[in-house]
């Protein structure tokens, strides 16, 4: 049996080799299909690990509290607009009652551009917050200083700029001590944050690198409201994030009269959320690739049917000299299997090649996991068998007498 199988494999290669161009064209569908599936999955995986790294780069042991209730990992659109359910009072209560908190700061979104002379930075994310934010976000400075509790208490009009924002307004000019205009008021630049290590998110949207911070008290006067759109919490490093999350939730619930109109969000939750979004994306892309695999499979079936017809006489001879139906079936099945496996292998090699090129050229790394490799091989085998069976059965069932007379 083993020798027969080995002969069949050799024979399949001989047969494929003697029709090189045709075999290559036949494999093309599978090559493209496997390449598409693996590459798209790899890009999805790359994005996921990139985003995960980004989120984790925000600082360790970070918990965010968002207004509005978020149900099972879905964003509640009302949490982003309208009146926030969070208040500065929540910040005070958290600071007082939750022992595991290291630092906590509210964030007020001040929708306004920053102007300096005729220059402005429209992408700046202007946030009113307390000095704790610099502890929470583990801020390192490029120059100047951060504001302190004294600045907060005295409602000082001072601001700390993100590096990209400072660059876009001041260029190489020294910004410290200069005054920018926010909502018509002059505000003194006292510090510039360190240049971000990672390049900004390639997927657009505001990044915390573009944040500028001014004292919460000052922000309250600028906007004449007290809207806390987010509370950021840093917990002590020896505390389990999940325990801290539960504690924060309990304290806030009590402060909100048992109404859960907020969401306590850990980094892990955020990673999970991004994960679910990316999984949907990946599934879609994977399905697209799977369609081309299907087309590839039909191509293989087509060529195998042609091959069976072409080799009708050969089948007749083989049967006359002692091949059973099973022998013929296996022979053709192995041929289609090898055809699609070769295609899969070439497709996989292409995926690795393209992933490497992307990594080198684009500062982004598609990740081909061993699961994808197994998936690609499994897909190829599946395609080879499924679309090889019909032609193989046809070959096996040929009447040797008619097959021998076939011209």
């Amino acid at each position: 049996m083993f020798y027969k199988l080995w002969e069949n494999i050799k024979l399949a290669f001989i047969s494929i080799w003697s029709n090189k161009i045709r075999a290559l064209l036949t494999m093309l569908g599978v090559i493209i299909g496997v390449f598409a599936v693996v590459e798209l999955l790899a890009i999805g995986e790359g994005v996921k690990s990139f985003v995960t790294k980004e989120i984790e780069g925000l600082g360790s042991n970070l918990i965010a509290i968002l207004p509005g209730k978020m149900e099972s990992g879905q964003f509640n659109p009302s949490s982003g607009i309208g009146v926030s359910t969070l208040t500065n009072d929540d910040v005070g209560v958290l600071k007082k009652d939750v022992s595991s908190i290291d630092a906590v700061s509210p964030m007020m979104l001040i929708s306004s551009p920053i102007k300096y002379g005729d220059k402005s930075a429209p992408s700046a994310l202007v946030l009113g917050t307390t000095p704790d934010i610099f502890k929470v976000r583990d801020t390192k400075l490029d120059s100047g200083r951060v504001f302190e509790q004294k600045d907060e208490d005295e409602k000082k009009r001072v601001i700390v700029l993100g590096y990209p924002i400072a660059q876009s307004i001041f260029g190489d000019e020294n910004a410290i001590g200069k005054k920018v205009i926010i909502r018509g008021e002059e505000i003194e630049v006292i510090g510039i944050m360190e240049k971000p290590k990672q390049s900004a998110s390639p997927f657009g949207g505001p990044s915390f690198d573009d944040a500028v911070y001014l004292p919460f008290s000052a922000g309250k006067e600028l906007t004449k409201t007290e809207q806390v759109f987010r509370i950021l919490v840093k917990i002590k490093s020896d505390i389990d994030v999940k325990d801290a999350k539960e504690e924060i939730k309990k304290v806030l619930l009590a402060n909100h009269k048992d109404t859960e109109d907020f969401t306590v969000f850990t980094q892990e939750d955020l990673v999970d959320l991004v994960g679910t979004i990316l999984d949907v994306m990946r599934a879609l892309l994977g399905a697209l690739g799977a369609i081309s695999l299907l087309v590839g499979g039909i191509g293989i079936m087509n060529i195998m049917l042609v091959s069976v017809t072409e080799r009708t006489r050969e089948i007749g001879v083989r049967k006359a000299i002692g091949a059973s139906q099973l022998d013929i079936l296996i022979q053709f099945l192995i041929e289609s299997l090898i055809l699609s496996l070769l295609g899969g292998g070439i497709g996989l090699a292409f995926s690795f090649g393209v992933a490497y090129v992307v990594k080198v050229k684009a500062d982004f790394e598609p990740v081909i996991t061993s699961e994808f490799i197994i998936l690609a091989i499994a897909f190829s085998v599946f395609i080879g068998v499924i679309f090889g069976v019909a032609p193989a059965i046809r070959a096996a069932r040929l009447d040797p007498i008619k097959a021998l007379k076939y011209e």
Binding site: Y3, S18, K319, A320, G322, S324, Q325
Partner: protein
């Protein structure tokens, strides 16, 4: 000597449209072990049908065909495959070598289906190609061989599995007369040296006469007069 083939009242009917065609209409004969028999007849006489039945490629409509003491009609397709694999060697008019394989590989083919190991297979196939005088051509593809050489490869392939019987279907039909003579000589020589039973189908009385015995078919029946005519020519 015992009979390897025993045919009694063999009938094979084909349905063509509304009409029944009796390709064989009650044929009876025996072939003894080691005999060289020619089945002769004009085209349409049923000799191809006879060959298919003798070769276990087809089953008769009625009548009995005993091959090597087995009633073929009672065998299932798997058993028929085993008989073809181990006990029958085919030689065809148009050689029917597999074009992509070398002469050696072509001869190895029946042994692959018998489950031989590669080494044993190769040495046997080589030996057989030597026996038909093709020791220098073993790695040639069929397209690189002349008609006579191709038929020699086919004969080697038929012999390599040491069958009980060789069925040759117009083995010289596609060859010029000189080469045909050579092939016929080879068959006769093999028959004598190896004591192999040969049943050869031919429409050519000249070819048929090189056999030890002639069965003449006409319209699906054995035609005794036909044999006499052939022998008269002798």
């Amino acid at each position: 000597m015992e009979n390897i083939i025993s045919v009694k009242n063999l009938v094979k009917t084909f349905q063509i449209g509304d009409q029944e065609l009796h390709a064989l209409n009650g044929v009876s004969f025996d072939v003894r072990d080691g005999e060289f028999t020619a089945i002769m007849g004009p085209s349409g006489s049923g000799k191809s049908t006879m060959l298919n039945l003798l070769g276990c490629l087809d089953q008769p409509t009625s009548g009995s065909y005993r091959f090597d003491n087995e009633e073929v009609k009672e065998l299932n397709s798997g058993q028929l495959v085993k008989i073809r694999r181990h006990k029958i060697g085919f030689i065809f008019q148009d050689f029917n070598l597999l074009p992509r394989l070398s002469a050696l590989k072509n001869v190895e083919l029946p042994l692959i289906y018998q489950g031989y190991r590669p080494k044993a297979r190769q040495s046997k196939a080589r030996e057989m190609l030597n026996a038909v005088g093709l020791e220098r051509r073993i790695n040639h593809k069929p397209t690189q061989l002349s008609g006579g050489e191709k038929q020699r490869v086919a004969i080697a392939r038929a012999l390599v599995s040491e069958p009980r019987i060789i069925l040759a279907d117009e083995p010289t039909g596609n060859l010029d007369s000189k080469t045909g003579e050579e092939i016929l000589k080879l068959l006769t020589q093999i028959h004598k040296e190896r004591k192999v039973t040969i049943v050869m189908i031919t429409h050519d009385s000249h070819i048929a006469k090189s056999a030890e015995r002639i069965i003449y078919l006409k319209d699906g029946k054995i035609h005794e007069k036909g044999i006499l005519e052939v022998l008269h020519l002798k």
